[in-house]
């Protein structure tokens, strides 16, 4: 029984999970500092490049063009991949994807697979599925391997184990790699993993990757990594299977210049990832398989409110800038995708299970400002709140006040009356009334003092003098 299946469709509880993470100041502070550091480096990189904002705009247009012509580009990609000698498969959903991969591996008698990071394969729960069918699956990325040994999801789409301290990893490696539990030097730990991984990489029967981009014009994919682990998979075993979400298409090879200039700068700051790898045909004597996966992407595409989320290039900039994500950590979301992008992706898979996530945001809009392909993330968070409210799925506490608020805001006279009463009351209410367990806002903050009159009343008196 996999971690994913056992959780069934019970709604996730991000508040409680975040509280557990925040409870340990060392983890919370380190996470906040490291994640904000990535945001800072992104800002420096963006400021050094002329026309950063125009690059974002053109990238957004290329993605929107591709998505509004996606049927054509999918067919062009397939035709060119087939002409290159790639075996192309299609999967409507996660189960079909997993079964397709399993069938390929069974036909080749595969026992050991090394895989590089793929959020799509995470989304499909593929690793647990293959393991249940007797195939050993080893994550080849250091952070992903740390998460695999910890039996946890990735907490960040670029740096999967960023929520862990080096001492956590020293403890984990001592158990699994027999290293010194008291030595938490990152160089020592990384070297231990390199030495543990190499023999497995050389013995693997097959490799798997995801895809950052799929180029319709050339029928090949691009995989961006820093460790080179995907490259070991692509060059050592004689069978390679790559999972590709259908939204990963771009029209032309020349578009890669545009997206690659944005991707790594937005993620971690450097001008590009250490490895930018192009896979276009099987090496002589080997097989290359592409599995094109829908898994509700066509449903998103049909939604006027939510199709823009398909522009995402998975850089993680929105997570790094998010004041909620930085404090709560990625695991608090209880979902494949965390942070602002997760808040608008996850409910698309199951809006009952993930009904709390769109409320795990301050709606400050910083995510929208840093997104390299200009996804209106904060608007989409707000729209998901409306979907969830309209289906009566609001969390109990938020649900209690919101219908009343809606009625009050809909009637200006009622609002102004309520406003005046509110101001008068705040001044006289004991602190405890506002600072109650139903109002998490005041848990770590003081309420500001109330003004002496409403803005409306002030404007009636003062503002009209200048008209």
């Amino acid at each position: 029984m996999s971690l994913w299946q056992s959780e069934a469709s019970r709604p996730v509880e991000p508040e409680a999970a975040a509280a557990r993470f925040i409870n340990d100041p060392k983890h919370e502070e380190t996470h906040d500092r490291l994640v904000w550091g990535m945001r800072t480096k992104r800002d420096q990189a963006a400021s050094l490049l002329p026309h950063w904002e125009e690059l974002r705009e053109v990238a957004s247009q290329v993605k929107e063009h591709t998505l509004t012509h996606l049927d054509q580009y999918l067919q062009q990609f397939e035709n060119n991949a087939l002409a290159n000698g790639v075996k192309v498969h299609w999967a409507r959903d996660a189960a079909e994807h997993n079964n397709t991969v399993l069938r390929i591996f069974e036909e080749h008698g595969v026992k050991l697979v090394i895989k590089s990071k793929s959020m799509l394969q995470e989304e499909c729960g593929m690793t647990e599925f293959l393991i249940a069918h007797g195939i050993t699956v080893r994550e080849s990325d250091l952070g992903e391997r740390i998460q695999q040994l910890s039996k946890e999801r990735p907490s960040h789409i670029v740096v999967p184990s960023i929520h862990k301290l080096r001492t956590d990893i020293a403890e984990l490696f001592a158990e699994h790699l027999h290293t010194d539990p008291h030595n938490s030097d990152p160089h020592y730990l990384a070297e231990a993993m390199r030495n543990d991984a190499r023999p497995q990489f050389l013995a693997a029967d097959a490799a798997m990757t995801g895809a950052n981009f799929a180029v319709a014009e050339t029928g090949g994919i691009v995989v961006c990594t820093n460790e080179g682990n995907a490259d070991i998979g692509a060059t050592v075993p004689s069978l390679l299977v790559s999972s590709i979400g259908i939204e990963k298409l771009i029209p032309r090879a020349s578009d890669l210049g545009l997206f690659l200039r944005l991707l790594s700068r937005s993620a971690l700051g450097p001008p590009m990832t250490q490895y930018t790898t192009h896979l276009h045909r099987p090496r002589p004597g080997t097989e290359l398989h592409f599995v094109l996966v829908d898994n509700k992407r066509s449903e998103r595409l049909a939604s006027p409110d939510f199709w823009h989320v398909l522009k995402c290039i998975r850089c993680g900039a929105c997570m790094n800038t998010c004041p909620v994500y930085r404090r709560s950590g990625g695991l608090a979301y209880g979902a494949t995708y965390s942070g602002p992008i997760g808040i608008i992706l996850d409910p698309g898979f199951d809006h009952r299970k993930y009904r709390e996530l769109p409320f795990h945001s301050s709606l400050c809009g910083s995510c929208t400002e840093v997104c390299p392909v200009k996804i209106d993330i904060s608007n989409q968070i707000y729209k998901w709140r409306r979907v969830i409210a309209s289906e009566g799925l609001l969390p109990a506490i938020k649900g209690a006040g919101l219908p009343v608020l809606g009625d009050v805001l809909a009637h200006p006279a009622v609002f102004h009356a309520a406003e005046a009463i509110g101001i008068a009351s705040i001044a006289h209410l004991p602190h405890k009334v506002l600072d109650n367990p139903l109002n998490p806002w005041t848990r770590h903050r003081e309420m500001p003092g109330a003004p002496s009159q409403t803005f409306h009343a002030w404007y009636e008196k003062e503002g009209k003098k200048h008209e």
Partner: protein, 227 residues
């Protein structure tokens, strides 16, 4: 598979996508280059759909060589580079950098190694290579990146299994940005495997500490060979 006839996953996905296409369709923006490398002030920008170019501090002026900026960017990515004149100096530099190397595989005829690499060798056989000597025919100044294809590597796993990489590059083969790099300088479908490397293998997965040699090459040295 137990699929009803006529509803293959492929046809169903394409049909679903076709019915879902957002409207109105968005036109494909042109991405036009500046009309040749090294001619652009600041060198990092576009023109046409992007307006006037700005100057980037530290980037070469039009007509100036790109190699110094390439070297600076490569160093920032954790790589190192040296200017050498001719293959004699290149050989001496490699000997100086890797005096302990036992297995040196060179695919550059002018640089002798200790072991031959020939097409068709097993990928796994590259596992004990200490130093691989390769030749790249394209560098990108903005990222300090070099281009390598399966043809350049002879056996593709050589580039990731070797402990250290030395790559020879002509200073004249450096273009300013990734836009120029992807502007028809190679034909992607001709290569099973090809890549840009910007520095050696790296990870920041343990508390963001940058460590080189996570899984692939521990070091990347570019020798800028002038003839």
């Amino acid at each position: 598979m137990s699929e009803p006839v006529g509803t293959s996953a492929r046809d169903e996905i394409i049909s679903r996508v076709r019915n879902a296409l957002p409207r109105p369709p968005v036109p494909l923006p042109g991405i036009e280059l500046s009309g040749g490398q090294k001619s652009v002030k600041g060198g990092l920008g576009y023109h046409h759909n992007l307006t006037d170019l700005e100057e980037v501090q530290g980037f070469p002026e039009p007509g100036e060589p790109l190699a110094p900026y390439f070297q600076k960017q490569l160093a920032a990515m954790g790589g190192q580079s040296f200017l050498v004149s001719g293959y004699g100096e290149a050989r001496a530099k490699i000997a100086e950098l890797f005096p302990e190397a036992k297995v040196v595989c060179s695919v550059v005829p002018e640089i002798p190694g200790t072991r031959q690499v020939t097409p068709g060798q097993r990928s796994q056989d590259m596992h004990d290579v200490d130093v691989a000597v390769l030749r790249s025919r394209l560098g990108v100044a903005e990222a300090g990146a070099i281009w390598l294809s399966d043809a350049d590597l002879v056996v593709p796993s050589l580039g990731v299994l070797a402990q250290h990489l030395v790559v020879l590059l002509s200073p004249d083969a450096i273009v300013p940005t990734l836009h120029e790099a992807y502007d028809g300088r190679f034909h992607l479908p001709a290569h099973a495997y090809s890549l840009f490397m910007a520095g050696p293998s790296a990870t920041g997965d343990i508390e963001g500490v940058i460590i080189h040699g996570a899984q692939g090459a521990r070091s990347l040295t570019v020798l800028l060979v002038s003839s």
